[in-house]
């Protein structure tokens, strides 16, 4: 009986389509979970949870190392069962994880929270364990075919990545989740039809289950937002309701109406202001970052509150300026420009759905400010990423206004530390300055933090940008003012004159704002209206302009050295040195000073490494026990295997993540970057994997170590790719999107093609030596990929993305030497 089945299975060949399907489903699930958990919690917690859950892959390798004979004997039922279990758990475990009372903000206060977190990890690891098991058992069962299996695995993942991004434009995250569950069942059915025994009927219920997934009630898996997110808090106000909801991979856009209690969003409004904002609708992205959609009836005086904020300062130094608003959101800064009689306004907003809401759905409410073409108020709206827009633009402006779009609470808790931001880097400011008319102003508004962080990092970046642009005396071109809640930095393309300075002082005096810096300012002018412990902003600005800059940056307890394009983590303020002090101040209320994002990233890495060690060590010990006889010969081989698969796992992720970041600028859209880079990497790695088989067979005496040649070629193509990319970013930003996508794919293709080879090449050699170690090697690679992704971000924060690529190349070198 067993022999018969084995024969039938063997004849059928590996279930390649099913492998591609399950890989597509798993990658889509990973991206979807990121989306769902960004709605439920905040980005960095989502990142931590999903990284840990991905270790389910490593667990699959560990499990199968210990159950290899079962796979040999009952491959088809096991594969189908695992794929079906993915289908069930992808939906079920998310629904259950939502019911765990995990509350990230309480984690340092409530001793039960770590246990809840663990429960969430374990639940979400299950679907990845199942999908990983499918792929891993295929490698294990069809020894001798790693290249073909790996190429279908990678191609499937690539398709899943593109597919989910496309799907999220048309489906709600809930619908997408059901579809992914259905894909699991579909993979189960396909695998059964191809590899199962002669009875074909079991495929039918599997297909029926796939259909059933699509019929599940949406409410089961609707993401429940943390009660501490801004949107949840707003919805507590009586009478408020979400009147419009739009999904896209860029985020969940919610429009909130509050007819009983007006919303009145006016951050940093002067304490002397007597005016109130007109009625507003609240626009939230993923339940955070409230931006006001203000009702505008065309009467200028209804907007007078917009003159009572620090961001209004530039309009008191310019007359009828041509304005570029970067990050226009729902239009508050555009209205502010209109209030101040801007001659023309170009408004740039990344999210097409937000633009569409203001332009169409709420056109009348918003007074038609985003109307198609050039609207009545001389406003032209561009759906584009701000940095790319500026780089590609040939125009010049009198004022470039960078809007304050992130939320205060997330910003003040340091929740953005991991996210890259290309608006506040030295290079970005240089770009902006190049697009200013003589005497024009760049204005950037940030939330005030105490002690100052954002404002200082930005000030330092402006100083560096001016210096790099050849300005001998940056101090003559900088001014900084603050209210109790916001600060606005002005950088002038030219020196501030006496009239400018008089206007700045008058503006601040009328509104009880403090001047924190202007050229020639005396220390006793600082810290007058809104008094803080010390005039930190003035002192710091002075230090950043003087010879003591480096010493200041070193001694300051937050990381406020300017961000650059290579290390664009503007919101990373954390310094290890300050950690013990801040923790000891917990009782006094010192925790808010702790910038969360970075410690959470470190915690993620630590947990991932520990779990990986366990997942790698346990099966190794098991294999040792099972094969006690041949211990000596195995030990050395296993050491090399461990180093090899760890190195290539890390290296692949390092290159992929660094390239994704590097291409964000060139493709000038975070989504294009993720979709294009990830897809191109997976597609060409898949093709490379397929070709690597021949390379292995052709291992003639002339090419004794094909891997060394591959590694050398990887090094060359990575270096060449990055060099070309930075040239392109400077010279080819004006070309159409499609052309930039094609160029990007062309740049990635050769590199990815080569990077697809080391894994199957290594696996083929493992098979030749001791096939029992195949699942183990696969598990090591899975663990290394997870840890590698987290480590890449951590390294980028400290040494930049270019260095991450260098480290990756070194790791490939190590792999070449440790060839199993």
């Amino acid at each position: 009986m067993t022999t018969t089945r084995l024969r039938t299975e063997g004849a059928a060949g590996p279930p390649l389509i099913a492998v591609a399907l399950i890989s597509a489903a798993a990658l889509a699930y990973e991206i979807l979970l990121m989306r769902l958990f960004s709605i439920v919690f905040w980005y960095h917690f989502a990142y931590m949870i999903i990284s840990l859950a991905l270790l389910g892959y490593g667990a699959a390798g560990a499990l199968l190392t210990m159950a290899r004979s079962a796979v040999e004997q009952r491959f088809a039922p096991l594969f189908s069962a695992a794929a079906a279990a993915f289908g069930v758990s992808a939906i079920g475990c998310f629904a259950l994880a939502q019911r765990v009372p995990f509350s990230p903000l309480e984690i340092l206060w409530d001793p039960r929270q770590p246990a809840y977190l663990l429960a969430v990890y374990l639940l979400l690891a299950l679907p990845f364990l199942c999908s990983g098991a499918c792929v891993c058992m295929t490698f294990s069962r069809w020894a001798g075919m790693p290249s073909r299996i790996y190429s279908f695995d990678t191609l499937g993942a690539g398709a899943g990545c593109l597919g989910i991004i496309a799907m999220l434009f048309v489906l709600s995250p809930q619908d997408a989740l059901m579809l992914i569950g259905a894909l699991g069942w579909l993979a189960a059915a396909v695998a059964w039809l191809q590899c199962g025994d002669r009875r074909r009927w079991p495929a039918l219920p599997m297909l029926a289950a796939a259909g059933l997934c699509l019929l599940l009630p949406q409410a089961w898996v609707a993401p429940t937002m943390s009660p501490y997110k801004e949107l949840s808090q707003t919805l507590r106000i009586p009478g408020t309701r979400v009147v419009e909801e739009r999904f896209s991979p860029l985020g969940l856009v919610s429009v909130v109406e509050s007819p009983q209690v007006p919303l009145r969003h006016a951050p940093g409004l002067s304490l002397t202001a007597t005016v109130e904002p007109p009625p507003q609708l609240g626009v939230f992205i993923d339940g955070e970052g409230l931006s006001a959609l203000t009702r505008f009836d065309g009467r200028r005086d209804s907007l007078s509150h917009l003159d009572q904020m620090t961001s209004a300062l530039p309009y008191h130094l310019l007359r009828h300026p041509r304005v570029l608003v970067l990050g226009a959101g729902a239009g508050a800064d555009v209205l502010q420009a209109r209030y101040h009689d801007a001659e023309r306004i170009d408004a740039v907003e990344l999210n097409p759905q937000v633009v569409d809401l203001v332009r169409r759905r709420y056109a009348d409410y918003a007074g038609g400010i985003y109307a198609e073409g050039l609207s009545a108020g001389q406003v032209r709206v561009h759906i584009a990423e701000a940095r790319g827009f500026v780089a590609a633009s040939a125009e010049r402006y009198d004022l470039i206004q960078v809007a304050l779009l992130d939320s205060f609470s997330a910003s003040s808790a340091g929740l953005y530390a991991l996210s890259e931001n290309y608006l506040y880097t030295i290079e970005a400011l240089q770009d902006d300055l190049r697009h200013l008319h003589e005497g024009g102003l760049l204005a950037i508004t940030r939330w005030v933090t105490l002690p100052p962080r954002d404002a200082l990092k930005l000030f330092g970046a402006a100083v560096a940008a001016l210096q790099r642009s050849g300005v001998a005396d940056p101090a003559s071109r900088l001014a900084l003012v603050r209210s109790w809640q916001t600060s606005t930095l002005l950088v002038k393309n030219g020196d501030f004159d006496a009239a400018d300075i008089a206007a700045i002082k008058a503006f601040c005096a009328e509104r009880s704002f403090d001047v924190a810096f202007y050229p020639g300012m005396r220390a006793d002018e600082a810290n007058r209206y809104n008094v803080v412990g010390r005039p930190d902003l003035f002192d710091a600005a002075t230090a950043l302009l003087g010879p003591g800059r480096d010493e200041f940056l070193h001694n300051y307890k937050f990381h406020v050295a300017p961000a650059s394009d290579d290390s664009p983590h503007f919101f990373h303020f954390f310094k290890w040195r300050s950690l013990p002090e801040l923790l000891s101040l917990k009782e006094q209320g010192g925790l808010p000073l702790l910038e969360w994002g970075y410690p959470v990233l470190v915690a993620t890495l630590a947990q991932a490494v520990l779990a990986s060690l366990l997942l790698i060590a346990a099966p190794a010990a098991w294999v040792t026990r099972a094969g006690a006889g041949q211990r000596a010969s195995l030990a050395g081989a296993r050491g090399r295997l461990l180093v090899y698969f760890t190195a290539i796992g890390f290296a692949f992720m390092f290159v992929e993540i660094a390239f994704m970041q590097k291409f964000v600028l060139f493709l000038s859209h975070p989504l294009y970057a993720v979709a294009v880079v990830l897809f191109a990497f997976l597609l060409f790695a898949g093709i490379g994997s397929g070709v690597s088989k021949r390379l292995n067979e052709a291992a003639t005496p002339k090419l004794r170590n094909p891997l060394a040649a591959v590694v050398l070629a990887i090094g060359l193509s990575a270096t060449l790719g990055l060099a070309l990319l930075s040239w392109l970013f400077e010279h080819a930003m004006g070309i159409p999107d499609a052309a930039r996508i094609v160029i990007s794919v062309a740049l990635i293709a050769p590199l990815a093609f080569l990077m697809g080879m080391p894994f199957p090449l290594g696996l083929a050699r493992v098979e030749a030596r001791d096939a029992r170690l195949v699942p183990w090697a696969w598990g090591i690679n899975g663990c290394a990929s997870v840890c590698g992704a987290v480590l890449a971000t951590l390294l980028a924060i400290h040494v930049g993305f270019a260095a991450v690529v260098v480290v990756a190349l070194v790791l490939y070198g190590v792999a070449a030497m440790a060839r199993p």
Binding site: L105, Y228, V261, S412, P452, Q485, F552, N555, G589
Partner: protein, 245 residues
């Protein structure tokens, strides 16, 4: 016979319960004393930031009296006197005792004063303030919280606190002007009507920060000539710059 046995059992049970209650009350009193000692120690540590060696004795005496455990959900009673913020449901939190004491101290309310609070929450801050001022008017926007707090304050015998469910943006004009205003609910800006309802010489205190994360306190003073001055207090002994300044 049966009746008397039952009676005996009930009496014993009741006695035990009362005994347990007395013991619990004693426990809470001990915890409260420790909490006040903790606060005093913290004030000494942060004397440079808060500008004094110790809070007003009256404030500390009140902190030692108000039963904080009555103001938190049952699930949080065990943590009621720990110096930490606590969730009270509806996405709201109750500040850590040190911050409550600091806010109360900053408000400098006297026995004849009228105080406005925007954001009643559990009612704890209002209860503390009620011991120090003549009258406390407090507004809560989340109806169930407001009703609960009103009931709780009534049960605990606070007669000089009046709770209203509604929008606090426009203050409570009927009882204005106020000697002190506490704004415990976050807003994107400080409502101009509240500043108008502040007496010359009055003080407004506002915590700034996210949930579980009161970061700093904003103190707004209306000077006698009607002008406004404001101060931000980071109640943490933390100097951002080490080395020479």
């Amino acid at each position: 016979m049966a009746t008397s046995t039952l009676f005996a059992i009930v009496t014993t049970l009741l006695l035990t319960l009362t005994g347990a209650q007395t013991a619990a009350a004693q426990d809470f009193a001990d915890e409260r004393r420790r909490m006040v000692e903790d606060i005093s120690a913290l004030v000494r540590e942060t004397r440079a930031e808060v500008g004094k060696q110790a809070f007003d004795e009256r404030v500390m005496a009140v902190m030692a009296r108000v039963p904080r455990h009555e103001f938190v959900p049952t699930s949080q009673v065990a943590s009621a006197y720990r110096n930490r913020p606590l969730p009270i449901g509806h996405g709201q939190t109750i500040s850590q005792p040190y911050i409550v004491a600091l806010m109360t101290d900053l408000a400098r309310a006297g026995l004849g004063d009228t105080v406005l609070e925007v954001g009643t929450g559990s009612g704890y801050q209002a209860a503390v303030m009620a011991h120090l001022a003549k009258a406390v008017y407090t507004i809560e926007i989340i109806e169930p919280l407001g009703l609960q707090a009103a009931q709780r304050l009534k049960t605990l015998g606070y007669t000089n606190v009046e709770v209203r469910v509604g929008d606090g943006y426009h203050g409570w004009a009927e009882h204005a002007p106020y000697d002190a205003i506490l704004v415990t609910a976050a807003a994107s800006h400080i409502p101009p009507p509240l500043i108008r309802q502040l007496k010359p010489g009055g003080r407004m205190v506002i915590p700034v920060g996210a949930s579980f994360m009161v970061q700093q306190l904003m103190l707004i003073e209306k000077n006698l000539d009607g002008t406004i001055s404001s101060r931000q207090i980071l109640p943490v002994n933390f100097v951002p710059l080490t080395g020479r300044r």
